[in-house]
Symmetry: D3
Subunit: 136 residues, 6 copies
Amino acid sequence: MKVAVFRKAHFNAAHRLHVEGWSDEQNREEFGKCNNPHYHGHNYAMDIKVVGEVDPITGYVIDMKYLKDIIKEKVEDKLDHKNLNIEVPEFKTVNPSCENICILIHTILQEALGKKYEVTVRLYETPRNYCEYPAS
Amino acid sequence: MKVAVFRKAHFNAAHRLHVEGWSDEQNREEFGKCNNPHYHGHNYAMDIKVVGEVDPITGYVIDMKYLKDIIKEKVEDKLDHKNLNIEVPEFKTVNPSCENICILIHTILQEALGKKYEVTVRLYETPRNYCEYPAS
Amino acid sequence: MKVAVFRKAHFNAAHRLHVEGWSDEQNREEFGKCNNPHYHGHNYAMDIKVVGEVDPITGYVIDMKYLKDIIKEKVEDKLDHKNLNIEVPEFKTVNPSCENICILIHTILQEALGKKYEVTVRLYETPRNYCEYPAS
Amino acid sequence: MKVAVFRKAHFNAAHRLHVEGWSDEQNREEFGKCNNPHYHGHNYAMDIKVVGEVDPITGYVIDMKYLKDIIKEKVEDKLDHKNLNIEVPEFKTVNPSCENICILIHTILQEALGKKYEVTVRLYETPRNYCEYPAS
Amino acid sequence: MKVAVFRKAHFNAAHRLHVEGWSDEQNREEFGKCNNPHYHGHNYAMDIKVVGEVDPITGYVIDMKYLKDIIKEKVEDKLDHKNLNIEVPEFKTVNPSCENICILIHTILQEALGKKYEVTVRLYETPRNYCEYPAS
Amino acid sequence: MKVAVFRKAHFNAAHRLHVEGWSDEQNREEFGKCNNPHYHGHNYAMDIKVVGEVDPITGYVIDMKYLKDIIKEKVEDKLDHKNLNIEVPEFKTVNPSCENICILIHTILQEALGKKYEVTVRLYETPRNYCEYPAS
């Protein structure tokens, strides 16, 4: 009997959208004010969804305290109060778009939780713009 | 690598629920106070979901500025501050229920964005009543 | 020992902004699309604030069930699913702006609750535009 | 043409997490402060999703007033202002975890609405922890 | 130059409304289902407001990390996952109404922060019912 | 007859907390991870409150379209997608704490709207930390 459990979490970070190898003009045209070389920032919010079997004794899919701690250790400590372009190695050459940050968080958490669980990450860049991976 | 991106938008409109060809009594019985001939109204809110491939260079599924502008031009300009029954041709003979408005918005945006993208529309009639098309 | 208690409530209504005695052109200029003669509508949300002494035995300023019922009977039943311009006598000659609706709700509830309580009404026309009377 | 409609509802209840047949120590270790023998409580919030065909005449999947009444009668009246462990027979021997409460609500509403509709229940134990059944 | 800073926090607790010295019947009549002898519960949410002078060098009214820790230590650790009637001494003889819990939290935090700051507590019993002390 | 009207608005920016003239160590000790030299960022949200007399004919305190445009032109265009420390002259020597940004926005809007109106600014740095100036 599969149930989905969700945990909300968040981090605050600076970033800019920028493609290495493109001219400044091309970058400005594509990304507009999001390309500002001095960076801007967001309160990123996450809904982490974990699908798994309900334990017939405890009634848990996963201990939410354990899930909260994993998110804190693997995702928040890595991204919170950081400059994503400069301080997060994965974004040295990859553009830290909402989509790419979402995929990175998914990779990290799916590996941390193992194949017993199916992880989906919803990432809010603002309360009006957000993304989800994998897409259902 | 498919990712879903979402954009929130909104419009305010008047409507009444009413089936052409039914008697006034039958309409009142079915739709209650929502059948008020003088209309009532809502702050409709939309979550527009667009699923597509992430561009390997930009990290975008779609330019959110472009998506925002399409929603503004095709949906908000058509529905905002309007009387849905009187001023929106599609609802001359179709009841502007939450479901039917949702289907209309989906038709408009799916056509505007093309087959490269899969669109889903969630439409909030109130913060407590909402619908989604296509249903997952 | 004075405490403020708050109750949220809501109603859905149609309205248009329009000054009797002004020309159509003057009305359009002042109120723009809010002047649409076919009406538009909103999900109005209210935060009703009531300040009073805490009863030393019950620990209540006012029975929240009683407050909820008063709001239902005096405000929701009068305004919900209505056309404010046509069906609410107070707006026959007064423009149903957010400010004027807020003042009306305050008058109704302050009278219903009596001088023992100080009422303040916050009225959301949309989640982004709202008003409060009396102003603090 | 299948559309999903959603209705939000809520109830407030006390509970504790506890497995009958485990020692007090084992229960404390597994469930921490959620095992408090004097109980704690939550404002549970539900998003009830109902998928079905849109009626071609009314434009309804289901009458939302009917859905609201069913949720009130079958779920809220059973769970609101109750102690889940003591007063809800289903949790005499089953741990009232978010997952198990969600499955119970699903069973009740799917049976009440019948096979014509596909029900999904999202249950918020807190605004940060929630679950969904069946998992998509 | 006085500025108000606010910090949100929360705790989950069980309680019942009950006046010692009243008959069971009188209690049931006054408090309805909130008088349930088996308790019910809430996700209480707080907005803690602290008014003070802005430090001309740091630009802080108060270190928000310090405020967060004080709220955690003095309020959350005392009330979270507790039965307010049984486990919080202040409510042995005082009814744990929203108003009385709000006043208690104010007393605790005003004393912890000292006269340099003016504390106001807004306490949400549910997202629809809340109170504030002192009342403005 | 004075009424308060409110308009929500928002901007996204990068910043760091840092006092010129303090050693790096002193800055790190006071501001912790908020002192990160590579910056972090936020989705700042504002509630702009304007108190004034209700116009007896229009029922407006102020035209909300005009207020929205003033906020856009004077505040959003100045702060949105900017690095507050580097690109906003007022923060060259003043620490861009939530309090100081709030005071700056108040100064700008009070001057733009004139003495006829009393402006109050609430600024959310995150959904959990916010401030208000002037303090009531």
